[in-house]
Symmetry: C3
Subunit: 335 residues, 3 copies
């Protein structure tokens, strides 16, 4: 897979080499993210950050990543008053909007919309979520995080044991993540969910065919035993026909410090795509885990900026030139 000048629409575009390239370039972003130095590699470039469906953190993460590379960000949020609402085709929108920027990040509520838009765009497009379909930068930042967290224990992704917990039927992130992980060798997947929300059969079949191990269970204790990483997900209420239906499964897969100490190996890393529901009745991932050294969820969010910086740098061809445009940080960074 080439990055230069290409759209990033789906995790299925990625091969293992591309993933490893992305990880290498993301690592190179740390001094800029840590505010040791500034780079202006994208000096004068414009990102069209088009969120036809609102998402504060994904939008801000992409925008921040572009600013940290020295570029400008022009944003659109919401769909109500846009031309799309007046019957404009995605193709027309793409032909017009792609004249306003050097690269586009797009989120849209409809499955397939971003790929359709990209077909008519004259600049590269990154899919930041198209309905229930794809959100590749999330899966890539998850994989980057796994790589970094495992390396603390000197382990590679190959041979990793991962438990994915929660709503595995409707969860876009766990599907995409599985599709990326299948490119590695000998992964042990434990899918922990109520039977009604199990991982789709086609994904499981693919994993087995490629030589990975798959265990399905609806028991949290069984699921958490002997894994390197627990990837906890939110019950996506909006995917259920009724709130009552959604609430039935709330709490059955709650992770907190007690469950961790009882069921998990002491080096098990906890991940979560966020946001998590922290209301009293949420029972998803308790805040009492927050100070645990293996609770990686906020490092995971931070990594999102590194991975998005890497995507921009690779697509726009500045990944080898970052240090040519460096300058010192003028202000005081306290940490």
């Amino acid at each position: 897979m080439e990055f230069l000048g290409k759209h990033i629409l789906s995790v299925s575009q990625f091969d293992r080499e591309a993933i490893e390239k992305l990880i290498t370039v993301a690592d190179r972003m740390k001094p800029y993210a840590n505010r040791e130095r500034i780079t202006k590699a994208l000096n004068g470039a414009i990102l069209g950050n088009m969120f036809f469906e609102a998402s504060t953190r994904t939008r801000t993460s992409f925008g921040c990543a572009f600013n940290r590379l020295g570029g400008y960000v022009r944003e659109t949020v919401g769909i109500e008053n846009s031309a799309l609402a007046k019957g404009e085709s995605l193709s027309d929108t793409a032909k017009v909007m792609s004249g306003y920027s050097d690269i586009i990040v797009m989120r849209h509520p409809l499955d397939g919309s971003v790929a359709e838009f990209a077909k008519s765009s004259r600049v590269p497009v990154i899919n930041a979520g198209d309905g229930s379909n794809e959100h590749p930068s999330q899966a890539l930042l998850d994989l980057y995080t796994m790589s970094k967290e495992l390396s603390r224990f000197e382990r590679p992704i190959d041979g990793m044991r991962i438990a994915m917990v929660g709503d595995l039927k409707y969860g876009r992130t766990v599907h995409s993540l599985s599709k990326l992980l299948k490119l590695f060798n000998n992964i042990s997947f434990t899918f922990v969910s109520p039977k009604q929300l199990a991982m789709p059969v086609d994904i499981i079949e693919q994993l087995i065919e490629l030589g990975h191990n798959v265990l399905e269970t609806d028991n949290l204790e069984t699921g958490l035993a002997n894994v390197d990483i627990v990837y906890q997900t939110r019950i996506q209420e909006e995917r259920f026909p009724t709130k009552e239906e959604a609430n039935k499964f709330r709490g059955a897969f709650r992770i907190n410090r007690y469950a961790y100490s009882q069921f998990c190996h002491p080096t098990t890393v906890i991940m979560h795509p966020l946001p998590r529901d922290s209301r009293a009745d949420a029972n998803e991932l308790d805040a009492d885990m927050d100070e645990h050294p293996n609770m990686a969820v906020f490092r995971q969010a931070d990594n999102g900026v590194l991975v998005r910086m890497a995507m921009f740098a690779l697509i726009l061809g500045v990944d080898e030139k970052l240090s040519d445009y460096e300058s010192p940080v003028n202000w005081t960074v306290l940490q």
Copy 2:
């Protein structure tokens, strides 16, 4: 007409010399728009991009134009929560907001509002649309596009033959465009619309008085014959008392590849202010025209950025200094 430090509120401010100046400066913007070079002529300047009525493309076009000249953009979208909704006068809003930027672009749903705002503003104001009244940058980019498209056939605007098609009664763009074109010599106007949506009589009388030719027709075939440019417009549903009323006129003036090949001279240029309605029942301007070399609608949208860059550069007095602040493009531009 002077540009330096002036508001641009109406096409009626423009004389022919000003239009030609604007075209010259817009041409100078091409290397920056084509990403051959970067300019930071407006380094440190702030645009207040205030859209009290949403318009994704016009807002982004202005913002992108300012970024391409090296300036910052601060934006406001919508009116619901603004001080205007709490009874603040436009004069107060202007006195406050004009302290926050070096130039303001403003769209507002009320006719005359931008001019009223400009009276109290301490920085130059560009009208980006005030209700049904004016949207001068649209007319100027249309005129710039005509100039460029005609020059492909080595023709000037003087003596040009143009058909304006669609809703000519309520269409703000065709009114403004006619007011600009009347400054040129010997234009032949063909106004193609249902009688109920005809071009206002006062505009027609002015054109005739100035020696231009005017033909009115409700027949598309007659209208399209022997013209250099067809300016197609959308049926603005929101201008009609009911949707039913609007729908009566849908489709009667549909342009597609068949109509083009039957009725138009092979060098006739097709323009449209966009967005166009691409729904199955729209019958406005079919996508089968999109690959035609004389379909200029997307070049027209691109030209909007050039013309808006020129407006900013002229008003802020950097039009002769763009190359003093140039730097190379660091990233890879594929086209």
Copy 3:
């Protein structure tokens, strides 16, 4: 009080030395605000300008201030679609969003929310208004304005006589301002309001205890006599149970040129936090005062940018380095 790396959440953090430091640094911002020079002291820094409650002018004032120091601004407006609405805790939002910027400005409808957010933020947070609780930058710009306006008559803030007029019970700005002014010596406060909207007793008691003079009255003529500054406030309709209740007090404390000439000393300065209601029945602060040389309300709004620039510069430690990163203004500034 230290500024470097600190949150600014409340006026109660400030001692007199900090206020004077802020005034000194705000003065230093004038050449940049007046466009005599540009500074890029915050080159590459990112402001997270998070307005979970909309406020066009406060948001734009902060954003403009950051741009004028050379930094980037990433914005969020509104709360409907944010993760907060899906049950995310403010602590989680803070942990994630503080990874996206170098400093955060936050407005939120709930009292105490910004302080709670700041506890989990890894970067400094400035409170731009949390419900009815605090809005420290408003009080600081008011104080800065008083200092500058009084200095025209060669008077200090110590010993100043101020009338605060209007809704003193629910008015967040007059409470905060009183808390700042109490740090000075021998201020004479006249609180002019209907009895039902009087200044809270605890604030009055504090002022008296510290040796300030307090007079309460519901008579405008009495209130305006013999004061250096009149601080007029809006009747905050949204604080009343019904609109009828709010309207009862409209107009009783109207200031216009007639009232000014009858009741005020000719050097009395008029201030107002804006926006003011300019509808015919508002009776708040008439536009006939606008050209009066002692009408300071628009200078007050301008000062907001200077004070916010000073806050950013002090917190990020560039207040002594502004001129190290200067460049000339490339464009033409007409005034």
